[in-house]
Amino acid sequence: MSATMEPTSDLLGARGPLDQDWRKVINYGLLTALVLMFISLANMPVGLDSRKIIEPLLSMGYISLLWVPAALGYAVTSEKVLEGMVAHKKGARELVAGLIVGLIGGGGLGLLIVLIDNFDLRDPLVNWSPQLLALLTFDEGIGYGVGFWLMAGAALGLFGGAAHVVSATVRKVVAAAILWILAFSVFETVISDISEGIQLEWLADELYYVRGGLSQQGAVGVAVVGILFALFGREHVREAKQSFQSLEGEKRTRANAIMLGSCVVATIVLPMVLGRITNELLANVGLFVLLALGLNIVVGLAGILDLGYVAFFAVGGYTTAILTSSNRGESWPDWMPHTHWFVALIVVVVFAALSGLFIGAPVIRMRGDYLAIVTLGFGEIIRLLFLSDWLGGFTGGAQGVTNIPGVDLGFVEVKGTDPRAIFYLVAVFCAFAIYVSWRLEKSRIGRAWMAIREDESVAEAMGINTVNAKLLAFVVGAVLAAFSGAIFAAKVGSVFPTSFIILVSIVILVVVIVGGMGNIYGVIAGAAVLIGVLGGPKQPGLLAEFSEFKLLIYGALLIWMMLKRPEGLVPNVRRSRELHQEEFLQDAWLKGHVDTDDQDELGDEGGVAPA
């Protein structure tokens, strides 16, 4: 099915090096140039230069440029080979196309260098700066810079094109080396933290340079391990996975239990060996996992696009804050007690459910797109109300509510200064959310949600009270979000209206969609990758240098996912069937799963041979 098929003898012969789709090649080249110029002017090379990948050879800043010609040089000649189609043999044509794309791209950067040197456009374009020029020319003069990028572009384009030509093993080796180096560099904080926690400081010291970035011997080591794993280890992993999937009945249940158990153990043990910063990161990820699991019920299971989801996060946060803080708004009557966090939590559940009903009821009969905008409006109204002078006596207005105590468990107080404890607290609620999602999905309610997502009017005609079912999804999602808000308040110790901007809703939506709508693992993976690596709306991730660019990347990612892989990284089987209905049917047909009308009558025509 894919272009990675081993070249076999029944392929058509290689096409000549000049037998190109020139228009496409030029377009890709210009696109490369444009993307490179945009990335440069977006300040990525300069802004990310401080993040080293391999000290002192390579920084994230240069990586932000280098991947472009390689990726587009590869993409220009990649073609979808469908079942039954015969592919051409790869050869010089692919190399030439990649080379030209890279060359044009490099030319774009060269042009940018010349332009920066001769004109001053710093007025609108803030990054039109000498630093950019210095970085692009390596301080060696214009001619050197232009020459370097032309050559580098060509080389990288060629490298991209070559990926089509070389054998699968070579491709595997190179990809493994690159990926492992990148991964070890990105996860530097975590890895050195873990190795410290398990008394292996020497390993981290060998791998990493003092001020960040892999050391050269570390990079080589990582690459070798990666290559070895790709060549020999991966087969075993795949086999293990297959044998796990082929388990049935009792054995399967037991295997599942073991998996679950090890996940739980890992969740408990891992934070113990991790340091403060990494635990803080985990706690943030956990908060977003909780939020995303809630939104997943609303968007993923019931198919309601709720853009005002942050409102429930805010309700949870503010309710907890007002009930527990010693510094809440002055308009509250004296008799209102300062409660314990757990008491507040009960009120949070009630308030979240009520606000879910209150916001949900007017919108639930609206069509999907109207609903999205109106919920967005509600999210904004709630924030404006918290911010306003009118309710300022109760909510603290722009000053918010501060002095929120942590969660006093008797033996320990869970608060922001102890991220490990916060993480455990979040993990408990995430476990609860996972359990809720998992139970609901395969229950009568979950089936009703599925039916509504597929065809609302038919679901209604089949006896499902769609209004109630959708409201229930809304409320369950609201309560989970409010839990997250309650923990957030205890963690940060203060809540402000600015913590609950629409951006939060959008980021959670991106997490759910990138992870895979309707899939619990997908949502967790999405939160871990996006929030953990790039960071949340206000929280830094592992790549703290990216904070300037993460929203840009989120936006691009959302579009990319919708266009190329709407089912997300870890798809829900059903969702992906919905989104790829035709391909799925074609596939099923090829496998002979599609039944035909009355086979006895159609005789031998009836049984379509599996492909």
Binding site: R447, A461, D597
Partner: protein, 264 residues
């Protein structure tokens, strides 16, 4: 074989933007009847079904089911009262499995909510089991076609005829009194049609359903109906047994147009 009066429709009218889709329609069904509604395309047959099932609100008239008016009820409430339907252009939940399609249709007959699902209570397990059993039971009505390994397959892989069958099974799963079948044999080959005709008879004789059916295939109409109602331009132009209706000059005119010599 007619029993108690089940469904009475009085002076039912609906207009879409000044256009009369149905005009002053009177209609009734007795328990255990099989009534066919026929008429040329655009006669308002599907609108008629949509109105009974609550998807379209009539502008005037009344629909009385077992002594209770259905006006103003949502489609799910109509289904809960015992009227199930199929759709002319088969509308299954294509990405749900075949079993899930019939399971979800029992929604209004079951009641386990949040509590039961979350804590997997004994009553929840029992109900799930019953839903499953009833689902397999109604699927079994079509022999081996929809059961066995098919249960876990998505509905979208089914052949056209099997989709129609599954849709009927889905309407049966709602435990109705009356089933509204919208062109049940459309697109089926003669053999399948013949088989399904037999099954429609069985729906009454073995399962006790009352059936109202829109159908174009006159052979099916003749074979199963107790009574035939002919609609044209939103009005009832004839009613009676198949023989009476098929010889009625007005009906022939509606289908074939007016004979040339009479047109002036």
């Amino acid at each position: 074989m007619s029993g108690e009066r089940l469904l009475t429709i009085k002076n039912l009218s609906v207009t879409f933007g000044g256009l009369h889709a149905l005009k002053d329609l009177n209609f009734h069904v007795d328990e255990g009847e099989i009534v066919s509604v026929i008429g040329p395309n655009g006669a308002g047959k599907t609108t008629f079904f949509n109105m009974i099932s609550g998807m379209v609100t009539p502008t005037a008239g009344d629909i009385i089911f077992r002594g209770e008016s259905l006006l103003g009820l949502d489609p799910n409430q109509v289904t809960a009262r015992g009227i199930a339907r199929t759709f002319q252009n088969v509308r299954l939940f294509a990405n749900m499995t075949i079993l899930e399609n019939v399971m979800v249709a029992q929604h209004c007959r079951t009641k386990q909510g949040l509590w039961g699902s979350l804590f997997n209570t004994a009553s929840f397990k029992k109900e799930e089991e019953e839903i499953r059993e009833w689902g397999e039971h109604v699927l079994g009505f079509f022999g081996s076609r929809l059961i066995g390994y098919r249960l876990e397959q998505p509905a979208s892989v089914l052949s056209y005829a099997n989709r129609r069958r599954l849709e009927i099974a889905r309407s049966m799963a709602t435990k109705p009194t009356v089933i509204l079948l919208d062109e049940p044999v459309a697109g089926m080959n003669p053999k399948e049609t013949e088989e399904l005709t037999g099954l429609i008879g069985k729906l009454r004789s073995e399962w006790g359903f009352t059936i109202v059916m829109i159908e174009h295939d006159m052979k099916v109409v003749r074979d199963v109906s107790d009574r035939v109602v002919v609609l044209d331009h939103g009005e009832t132009i004839a009613q009676g047994s198949y023989e009476e209706v098929s010889t009625n000059p007005e009906v022939i005119e509606a289908y074939l147009g007016r004979p040339a010599e009479e047109a002036s």
